[in-house]
Symmetry: C2
Subunit: 224 residues, 2 copies
């Protein structure tokens, strides 16, 4: 593990932005079912990114997110019209950050280049980064899998960060709250820190993270 990488690359959804912040909206649309819908939606969304990648049938994250919402609504027996559906999709563009993110990015970025590498479509990413006023930390270094035409954890995705940052893998540290994403990044050749927000067991995928932290504030302490 490179103890002090030149650049830190962050996953977006679940790491910087709380995807379950859609739960509140979902619960106002479908009282008592918001948590179930949010969880089903997120699970199916990831599943579709993996399956489409393996099938060689990439479609962008907007489409996959809409498809997984439709599946989840049907699965839970929830009737949604165009208005509810649009509101839920729009919520993905205005996700909130986790509470510690802003201060942690300021500390982590003081001596390093910061970037984002995400499954999100470039439009979705720009929207949520600007909504949260995080452009000051990331500039134009917001990389989307869209350019590779395949989703994480395909190694071609992680290579986009090397190309964009003009750095070799060994100079890059990758940060994700998704254990499988950290494993994919580690397998590619990055140092990888897993932000284990949900106190989950470590994934058994043959490439464990270099370290595990509880949130981004702990990562800032570790790299101080």
């Amino acid at each position: 593990m490179k103890a002090d990488p030149q650049a830190l690359v962050f996953d977006a959804y679940g790491t910087l932005f709380d995807v379950h912040s859609v739960t509140r909206l979902a619960d106002s649309l479908f009282p008592g079912r918001g948590a179930a819908l949010s969880q089903a939606w997120r699970g199916k969304q990831l599943e579709y990114t993996w399956l489409r990648s393996l099938m060689g049938r990439y479609d962008d994250f907007n489409a996959v997110t809409a498809d997984s919402l439709d599946w989840s609504l049907e699965s839970l027996g929830l009737a949604a019209g165009a208005r509810e559906r649009d509101a839920l999709m729009q919520a993905y563009r205005t996700l909130a950050t986790f509470p510690e993110v802003r201060a942690a990015l300021a500390r982590l970025g003081a001596r390093r280049t910061l970037a984002i590498l995400s499954n999100g479509h470039p439009d979705m990413l720009d929207a949520v980064v600007d909504h949260n006023e995080l452009r000051v930390h990331f500039g134009e270094r917001v990389y989307s899998v869209h350019e590779a035409g395949v989703f994480k954890p395909d190694p071609r995705v992680y290579a986009l960060a090397c190309t964009g940052l003009e750095l070799p893998a060994e100079s890059i540290g990758f940060v994700s709250s998704n254990g499988w994403d950290a494993a994919g990044a580690r397998s590619f050749g990055f140092a990888a820190w897993w932000v284990n927000r949900g106190r989950a067991p470590v994934e058994r995928l043959g490439s464990p993270p270099d370290a595990v932290v509880g949130d981004l504030a702990q990562l800032a302490d570790l790299l101080a």
Copy 2:
């Protein structure tokens, strides 16, 4: 859709063999937690096959099944020793068929070649096929992804059936209870029947099945 394919290729786990038949054993080892363990195990097992395939880190289905068991036990806070772990792994070699399978295979095989194409390691597949005395239907036509070094739904897996059966894709019908597996087979070029045992919504993956049936008896009616 080819209405009358020359060969029918079956998925194994969940289609012919009931993976939740391990629930009974799990429940005897961990009273009241058998269903939760069985579901977590199966979900994580599939997830690991997709992730390892995308990462280019294939490991055989025995290893993935053991890894996903360990993750699931830890996730549920269940303490298992070597004895419990071995018993659960062994259960995968002696899974029961769904009740209608035997009679349906006899009807479906009367005029067609039958085969299996599975994520399972060849040893696991041979064990469960022989345990259920299904060799009479499948002969040596039990194909494992192991030869391709990648899991479903990578198209290289479905191509193994064409090679083994010496038939083009358009002469083959594929049968799976996993909606994503039917989608992968359809995307590859097979006719695909989805055995929707769980009354789930159709997967939104861009290649819907040619038809949906409730079990293999209904499929035999459809193809009679």
